[in-house]
């Protein structure tokens, strides 16, 4: 079954190749009956225009690139789904790459997508301020937009992380939590975590509450029992833990259970992201909902608009912070007045180097 080209169809329909081309890309320019004839032949020959040929000639691929750290985090998976659906509706396709929060991978992913001549790019980088790939992306001249990263230098769609985190901190304070620790993964791998930490700290300071402690887990989305136990040991006054994302929060809650601590009775915990699974937990996870699908859709819409814009639309830089929503669950309760000492499982009780909490 040999693939037919536009020339074959032209010959069979008794028209020129250009007319066949128009029949597919600008049918309104083609006479009704010519169009019908071409379509009949195309259907019969099972012909559809080859996008690679079209792209080479036109210089546009109608393909968007999307780069995110991981799809195991539903935040990014939902964002991708939103972007892809929006793109598809406009006849665009999406080429995906994941980076595992690794800045080198970001650069490689960008280059590979550029090699494919994508028309525009959506991406989440580890840290927008230090990312090596963003200057490259900007210099490419292609439309691009960050998702989730907030940046002074690049267009983005996100939530207002500082404000959102402040709101959540406020909710904690309202329950009487004076001593709060903020738990993140490696800060270098997430500028969002930095902003959220900042938001909590600023709000607590504004409320005249004690400084917020900070503990860093080795992995972004998993809890380390040792780090957790150490934190609780060194700061027995803590009554609440604010985790920089929901995956981390649920892992922390699971580890607290292993330490014999019950949420929210012994300790309150909240996350950030508002992932759907949080609502399925018992009690439901208190968190801050980000509109992931909408973030993907808006970012995509902005790119498509920019692509529409006839060549030089004054590089309108986008700084879109979509509204967030406090998701009140059941993992934050009134501050406990006393706390049982965590029972550290034998395996972790001693021996290994002790992590320290910083503040």
């Amino acid at each position: 079954m040999p693939r037919r080209s536009i020339l074959d169809i032209a010959a069979l329909a008794g028209v020129s190749p250009a007319t066949v081309s128009r029949a597919f890309s600008q049918p309104e320019l083609v006479a009704r009956d010519t169009l019908d004839r071409i379509r009949a032949v195309a259907r019969e020959q099972n012909f559809r225009p080859n996008r690679v040929g079209r792209s080479l000639r036109s210089g546009r691929t109608r393909t968007l690139g999307l780069i995110v750290p991981t799809l195991a985090n539903p935040v990014f998976a939902e964002c991708l789904e939103g972007a892809e659906r929006h793109a598809r509706a406009a006849g665009f396709s999406v080429m995906v790459s994941t980076t595992g929060y690794d800045p080198d991978s970001e650069t490689h992913a960008v280059q590979l997508l550029f090699d494919h001549q994508i028309d525009a790019l959506l991406l989440t980088v580890a840290d927008a301020a230090t990312s090596a790939c963003l200057p490259m992306v900007r210099d490419s001249g292609l439309p691009y937009v960050l998702v989730y990263n907030e940046s002074a230098d690049h267009p983005y769609v996100s939530v207002d992380n500082v404000a959102a985190s402040g709101d959540l901190a406020c909710a904690l304070a309202a329950q009487g939590h004076r001593h709060l620790a903020f738990i993140t993964g490696p800060l270098r791998a997430s500028d969002r975590a930095v902003l959220r930490l900042q938001g909590a700290r600023e709000r607590y300071a504004a409320l005249g509450l004690p400084p917020v402690l900070h503990a860093e887990m080795p992995v972004h989305t998993a809890s380390d029992l040792r780090v957790l136990a150490t934190l609780l040991e060194q700061a027995p006054e803590l009554t609440a833990l604010f985790c920089s994302n929901d995956l981390l929060a649920s892992a922390v809650i699971a580890d607290l259970a292993r330490l014999g601590l019950q949420v929210p009775r012994d300790l309150s915990v909240c996350g950030f992201d508002g992932m759907a699974f949080g609502r399925m937990m018992t009690p439901p996870l208190t968190s801050l909902e980000q509109p992931n699908t909408a973030i993907g859709e808006h970012a995509c819409a902005y790119l498509l608009e920019t692509l529409q814009g006839d060549d030089a639309p004054a590089a309108s830089s986008l700084a879109l912070r979509l509204p967030h929503r406090l998701m009140t669950g059941g993992t934050v309760g009134p501050a406990a007045t006393t706390r049982v000492t965590p029972r550290i499982p034998d395996a972790f009780a001693s021996g290994a180097p002790t992590p320290r909490a910083s503040s």
Copy 2:
């Protein structure tokens, strides 16, 4: 900043375009110093070969297509991540499309990806036996592989759904559950659900237990309180619910709580998929773990191998069922001897339109 082509580089390096081409695709054919010169110029000019030009000429895009129902289900998101990582390591890119469990979308997605001249395709369809797109895909002659769908007619990578479901049913039986209901979404939209139902039924029959009931929810991954309440009312003998996927199971558990029923005290529940979030639930969700990442990787590996194979490798059809694992959680306990009558919330007691789970 005008994009340079291979001709520019050739001129600057004082060689022919063909040599520049070889320098990038078959460097071993180029003399050491020629290669160095070309690379120096390329770097200096910031040149990387245009994949569209390469694809048009060579007829290969080094791009895989991937079609799944949704990325909101972590099963598919993880599979995609596994496939993409594997593909990237081999220099392949992945173009994604979602279908929302809609067969028409499947066909459109396939066509769009074919238009992009993808080299091979991974896909999950609603129902492999009735899918309109699979014959198209096969006739295209492109390498392709189903993921999650088991099929007699097409290559696939999945788990053994019948056996896996049987294993889980067996675990239920072992806890004394004689009266079981299997809960799914629309069966037409998931041949996996059909096989899992069959697996449970066959195993219960083999064990001499009463027939397994079946209830169909309007949506694949959400519970409908009315359907659930009706089921429990009509079959008060039920002590366990087997849900065809984990998203559904967690939604059902949440709805049971709204009905005043506690899991596993009043009713046991299990899911299928083994999604990571299940372990974060309290109690952890009893389920059947599918190796999602491995499914994506194996499917991708098979395709890349087929693409390697010099043109006609006897169309080795793949039927790969990867091992599954019973994930014992806490949502299945001993069969309750008596059950409290579900308290149906006022809003749903009568008349009101079917509620939908929000997302």
